[in-house]
């Protein structure tokens, strides 16, 4: 369950990285934002589930597009140092978090149950149907994204622009459009993740920060910028965490995740797959 | 002075430099020519330690410098300039040259923190020497400008100034005349001769034939990662392979 959520976040990181060579620190807060949006639509506006999630996705997509067009592009155009762009995304995540506090307050919200029954029995184990739904939807989202990127003309042009923007420009591809769509998609993925995780863990301001960092760890482990590596990395992080919580102590599950991340950054920084990490290359 | 022996390097299956050997005589001007992509800059990167060859050896004054990191190579006495200018662009011209002396100076952090006499004297010497070098290259008037505000030609000169600051025995110049007009090229030629007169050995990669033919004592020609010819300028100019690969066929 948690692995598939990390997967959605990690794919978002990878998308952005492969398209712009940038690291966005906003993914976690976008997840939180998505969860709050979902909560608002589903609980307070009493909209049906499907409509709520669609609305959330649509709004989150727009948020991503907005971030790219009004902040990131400005910085890239001004030839700002990469690190300033990273800083901008960090600043943005603080703004998002505190904006959410302004709107929704800092309480923990319970997402209303989506299914009537409490548990579903699979073999001998009781499983929460919401978790199953989350995994299924996450999986479907990944499939759709895979299909979109590989089988559609626009998806191919997005991959092309990510690989070699200069050449893509000479191919009559509007690179700025593929870039903001990428940010939109990444943001939408975070939104879906937030919407899915809300009913299981509750909705609150801090929910995104840890998940965001761990999703990032997953992306690193999978080989930064590699969508499929990101998914594998997510399951590794998910498993490490579950085992730590079960056998060592749930307090240290975060510490262990960070240690795994640091170990990967130091020992195998290219991840299971390959990507550029060193300054001197 | 500098001896390259059977050096090989590959980039993903492609042999970028293939068993190249060459000798650079002390205090000579030696040129390396060939079409774009022939492996000249790659060879420079090998000599200056940016790349480590798969096999072969590089000898400097009789000692192998293979596998040295670039900063170590600089300390042994080989300095270089870059084809696509690599200056410290946001700091002043004189500071660029002061940094160039880094490997020849030795004041440490504690001398710095307590400004010992030694450190103060060294600092003054560094500044004076930097100024001398700028004078020599005709850049003195720009000493307080930021490096990036210089014209293209002057940026190339500053690269040379910074390299000279490390008092090299061998100076590698990677396309120093690129983007210069005829007058600037003329000045550059004079400058290179003057540097030679101070006892520095010069290895130069250049496309401008006029410059190469009038400066170089020895010319090596590369194509496709291999050395295809070497000799005096006029010998090379009349070499069939060279004409075929580089200078152009009828």
């Amino acid at each position: 369950m948690i692995g598939s959520i990390y997967g959605l976040i990690a794919m978002g990181y990878s998308l952005i990285y492969s398209a712009s060579g940038l690291l966005s620190f906003t993914q976690g807060e976008l997840l939180m934002f998505g969860a709050f949006l979902g909560l608002t639509f589903y609980k307070y506006a009493n909209l049906p589930f499907v409509i709520s999630i669609t609305l959330t996705i649509a709004i989150m997509f727009m948020v991503g597009v907005f971030i790219e067009s009004f902040i990131i592009r400005k910085l890239v155009k001004a030839k700002a140092n990469l690190i300033f762009i990273v800083l901008a995304t960090i600043a943005l995540s603080i703004v998002l978090k505190n904006f959410a506090m302004l709107v929704w307050g800092s309480n923990v919200f319970q997402f209303p149950q989506i299914f009537k029954t409490g548990f579903v029995k699979i073999g001998d184990v009781n499983v929460d149907p919401t978790s199953i739904m989350a995994i299924v939807i996450a999986f479907i989202a990944m499939l759709i994204l895979h299909f979109f990127m590989n089988k559609t003309r626009f998806g191919t042009s997005m991959r092309a622009a990510a690989q070699n923007p200069l050449a893509a420009k000479t191919m009559a591809i509007n690179v700025s459009r593929t870039t903001y769509v990428t940010w939109g998609l990444a943001s939408a993925l975070a939104g879906i993740a937030g919407f899915l995780i809300g009913p299981v863990y509750g909705v609150h301001l801090e929910m995104g920060t840890m998940i965001g960092l761990k999703g990032f760890a997953a992306a690193v482990i999978g080989g930064y910028g590699n969508m499929y590596g990101a998914i594998i990395g997510s399951f590794i992080i998910g498993l490490v965490e579950t085992f730590t919580a079960a056998y060592i102590s749930s307090i240290y599950k975060d510490v262990i995740s960070f240690l795994v991340l640091i170990a990967f950054l130091i020992l195998k920084p290219r991840g299971i797959f390959n990507s550029k990490v060193y300054d001197e290359e | 002075m500098l001896k390259i022996q059977d050096v090989v390097i590959k980039f993903g299956g492609l042999c970028a430099v293939n068993e190249v050997s060459m000798d650079v005589e002390p205090n000579s001007i030696t040129a390396l020519i060939g079409p774009n992509g022939a492996g000249k800059t790659t060879l420079f990167n090998i000599i200056s330690g940016v790349l480590t060859p798969l096999s072969g050896d590089i000898l400097f004054a009789g000692n192998s410098i293979k596998g040295f990191r670039p900063y170590m190579i600089n300390k042994t006495g080989i300095a270089r300039t870059y084809q696509n200018i690599n200056l410290f662009s946001n700091i002043s011209v004189i500071e660029n040259v002061m940094i160039g002396q880094h490997c020849r100076r030795d004041s440490n952090l504690f001398q710095t923190l307590f400004r010992t006499n030694y450190q103060v004297r060294e600092e003054r010497e560094i500044r004076e020497k930097a100024m001398e070098i700028l004078d020599f290259l005709g850049l003195a008037e720009f000493s307080d400008f930021t490096a990036k505000s210089l014209s293209y030609g002057n940026q190339r000169k500053l690269e040379i100034a910074r390299a000279l600051a490390s008092t090299p025995q061998v100076l590698l110049l990677d396309e120093p005349a690129a983007g210069m007009n005829t007058t600037e090229k003329g000045e550059l030629m004079d400058l290179i001769r003057q540097i030679q007169d101070t006892g520095v050995t010069i290895l130069i990669v250049e496309h401008d034939m006029k410059l190469v033919m009038s400066l170089a004592e020895q010319v090596h020609v590369m194509n496709y990662g291999r050395k295809i010819a070497q000799g005096k300028p006029y010998e090379v100019q009349n070499n069939k392979d060279v004409i075929e690969a580089y200078l152009g066929t009828e």
Binding site: I83 | V50, F88
Partner: protein, 325 residues
């Protein structure tokens, strides 16, 4: 030259006299002391980010190591505070070297990430290692530093104590920057390939700047612990690292005055914005975003001191470049 000396004298007299104006306003003095501690911490961050070009989002971690180490050593082992502070800064430096050894090679965003992770680990550690750090309840009754029989136990005394330390540390920073070592650090920021090619051992200087930087920030942490007398994990979150960065960027990095201006303006400014309550971080975030997007070189370049000075003193360009190096 005389004018320069005059300026120093005026500034010194002003700084010495400042607390006298606020006798009785202990709260303001506390604020001023906090601001000065931030000046140290942010100057440290400046050495790393502003001069060597390496980002750290984990400086709250070094701040925490400094604060906790000094507090624990002085309380549990009874080590004199001045020594426990130095030891604490040394420990922070050691951790920085340990991090930098492998991390200094990483590109910016990975470095950002690894330093965040470091900061988070330190935070999680101090929150949960109860026997040592007392967990979330924090450590109280941290003693004040003393020299001989003189104890710096009031905010006024602490102010003068800090004034000396800040002056020495800033002087050291300035000396480092205008030296062979400092130039090598700047070279690394400007162009890694060229630095390497011109004889600068890039890796060593990256590690060195990490070490110097964390010494400053670690010492600031220790000074903070002994000023407030109480520390708890919540002062050392990622938010604190971001506050350091915001101060640095607001003031202007890679610049002598930048960290001073940034740290003081934000410390005093946000204190007076207390009405904002919970929304303090919203303000920080917004400030940071606006600076990054609109004035990445910081306040120092908006209020261009160089130009101002040029008008006032008609100094030569050479000296100006010197100041700005």
């Amino acid at each position: 030259m005389i004018q320069k000396k005059m300026k120093y004298i005026i500034v010194t007299v002003f700084l010495l006299a400042l607390p006298l104006v606020f006798i009785g306003n202990s709260y303001f003095l506390l604020l001023l002391c906090t601001g000065m501690i931030y000046v140290i911490a942010v100057s440290g961050l400046d050495l790393l980010f502003g001069y060597s070009g390496q980002i750290s989002l984990g400086h709250a971690g070094f701040f925490a190591i400094g604060a906790y180490t000094s507090a624990i050593l002085s309380i549990k082992l009874g080590i004199p505070v001045v020594f426990s502070m130095l030891f604490a800064a040394g420990l922070a430096t050691m951790f920085a070297v340990l991090i930098a050894l492998p991390a200094a090679r990483l590109v910016h965003h990975f470095l950002a990430l690894i330093t965040i992770s470091f900061g988070e680990i330190v935070y999680l550690f101090v929150s949960h290692a109860d026997p040592l750090t007392n967990g979330f309840s924090g450590i109280g009754f941290i003693p004040s530093p003393s020299l001989g029989f003189f104890v710096f136990d009031t905010n006024m005394k602490y102010y003068y104590f800090l004034l000396v330390i800040v002056a020495v540390l800033l002087m050291f920073k300035n000396r480092i920057i205008k030296s062979r070592t400092g130039r090598a650090i700047i070279a690394v920021r400007e162009n890694i390939y060229a630095s390497d090619g011109i004889g600068v051992n890039v890796k060593n200087y990256k590690i060195l700047s990490f070490a110097l930087s964390s010494f400053y920030t670690g010492l600031a942490g220790a000074l903070y612990a002994h000023l407030i007398g109480f520390i708890s994990p919540e002062s050392f979150t990622l938010n604190q690292s971001i506050i350091f960065l915001t101060m640095l960027l607001l003031g202007g990095m890679g610049n002598f005055y930048g960290p001073i201006i940034g740290a003081l303006v934000l410390t005093l400014g946000t204190e007076y914005l207390q009405v904002l309550g919970n929304y303090q971080m919203l303000v920080y975030g917004t400030i940071l975003l606006l600076i990054v997007v609109f004035i990445p070189s910081g306040l120092i370049h908006v209020v261009n001191l160089r130009n101002l000075r040029k008008i006032l003193h008609k100094r030569t360009t050479a000296e100006e470049n010197d100041d700005n190096a």
